[in-house]
Symmetry: C2
Subunit: 284 residues, 2 copies
């Protein structure tokens, strides 16, 4: 059965708005892709600003949508929420040869792969920089001049690097427990060498700290990081982001949240702060 161009898979009323899951044919990944979209009640009468939320390893469009509890405050603030998937999926899409959770399916790392066999389908950067925003702007009542972005873990890395590469697109960026510097942690080494090959210069566009070192700028970044996060020391390393921002004029607010782990309970606990922070930037 051919994948339709654009299909609403599910829609449920939530907090006066509508939470949908949409499936569409992607020219970038060459697959069917799904994303979740929450439209607040305000979208019935006027285009609304939008917050993109990029999820972490193993996730789909569903995790943030179902677990973060973001719709309540988004409905109050009149904010649309778009939660994309984390990789291409389906027939013919290669996966990690060992089936590991940190590469391949569910682990696209928000890059355009250049190495075979990944380069055919693993084009999450172009999907999120061009195709999906165009599709969303063409099909949903959102205001493309008011976009913000956030994400968790691998998705925090995705949010930071997308915002740093395309600062004109986003008015604000935040992250939960982001992989601050993929060039300097095992998850990142595996992903960047696998998708991009051995040339570390090619990795720098996918590393928030390297992008900042190379001159990329955003006005401000909000980061929450749990102190009981089991990935903190080896994979996430927020101190590298802190060092990278120092003296650059980027206002980094890095909050070390005592006792919180890497789960969506952590995200749910602080998502309201992030939404209000983004809403202020989007209203400015």
């Amino acid at each position: 059965m051919p994948v339709p161009e654009f299909e609403t898979v599910s829609a449920a009323k939530a907090f006066g708005g509508v939470q949908s899951v949409i499936r569409h044919r992607s020219r970038e990944t060459g697959t069917s892709m799904r994303f979740a979209a929450f439209l607040p009640p305000q979208a019935e009468t006027t285009p609304v600003p939008v917050l993109w939320f990029l999820a972490g390893l193993t996730c789909t469009e569903d995790n943030f949508t179902v677990k973060a509890g973001a719709q309540r405050v988004a409905a109050e603030l009149g904010l649309a929420l778009i939660a994309p998937d984390t990789s291409p999926r389906g027939d013919g899409v290669p996966d990690d040869p060992d089936g590991a959770y940190d590469f391949g399916l569910g682990a696209g790392f928000y890059v355009d792969a250049t190495e075979a066999p990944w380069s055919t389908h693993y084009r999450m950067r172009s999907y999120l920089e061009r195709e999906l925003p165009e599709l969303v702007a063409a099909t949903l009542p959102i205001d493309p001049t008011r976009q913000a972005i956030s994400g968790h873990s691998m998705g925090g890395h995705g949010a930071l690097t997308l915002a740093l590469r395309t600062p004109d697109r986003f008015r604000s960026v935040s992250a939960f427990a982001p992989i601050a510097s993929p060039m300097n942690c095992p998850w990142g080494h595996k992903a960047l060498s696998g998708y991009l090959g051995a040339d570390r210069d090619a990795w720098r566009q996918y590393d928030a700290c390297a992008l900042i070192a190379d001159g990329a700028r955003v006005p401000a970044i909000l980061v929450d990081q749990g102190t009981a996060d089991g990935f903190l020391a080896e994979q996430l390393k927020p101190d590298l982001l802190e060092a990278a921002c120092a003296g650059t004029g980027i206002q980094l607010t890095l909050r070390r949240q005592d006792g919180y782990d890497h789960s969506y309970f952590f995200i749910a606990s602080f998502i309201e702060d992030h939404l209000r922070w983004h809403a202020r930037a989007l209203a400015a």
Copy 2:
């Protein structure tokens, strides 16, 4: 490997409190059982009131815990949340012979089964009326004199019938899209005839409307029901509960929520109202 008497499977900080999943050996079901427990920050210093939440068909202790977004307001109100599983599970526990979702595993219907082969393990009534409250009171910092109960769908039926049978235990009861009268819908017919046999008199203790007709009373019931719920007309039938309560002195607040379906997005949208309603009763 033997199941330990009582084991914390996971614990995560959430909204200043702690969300745990606990596994224990149940004498009633003869199996390992799991339940989720949220303790608000107030529980560090004082025993707190508790809201039980019973889930619907196919659910485990996880659904309400992960999807309803209840911890935020529970933390504010100082309310513990206990979310049990919906059936016994594991080796030797029989399931629906056709693997249907509405009987057997994930579908215990909160009864003590009397028919073979169900009667050995399917003892969710006694588990929830006696064993689990005793275990919770003995192991967690909750105040057993301040208990409330709610639930969704099959769990709404469970909450209503538990509260009607043991009104002294609960100060308040509410439900989301409850099966108002299992004796009068296909899900209920299948479950009650399967677990209890053909004698309909034995079913009445598991039917909120029949219990009320037979004289059971609670002061008040809060029910939210989505008007776009696909199970509304055939399975849920809130009008039967409305008719059963009429003239009994039970104050039924039945809110028909326009456009909402049967999902956890519906529950998440209104859980705050329920928690505040219960907190008022628990503070009285």
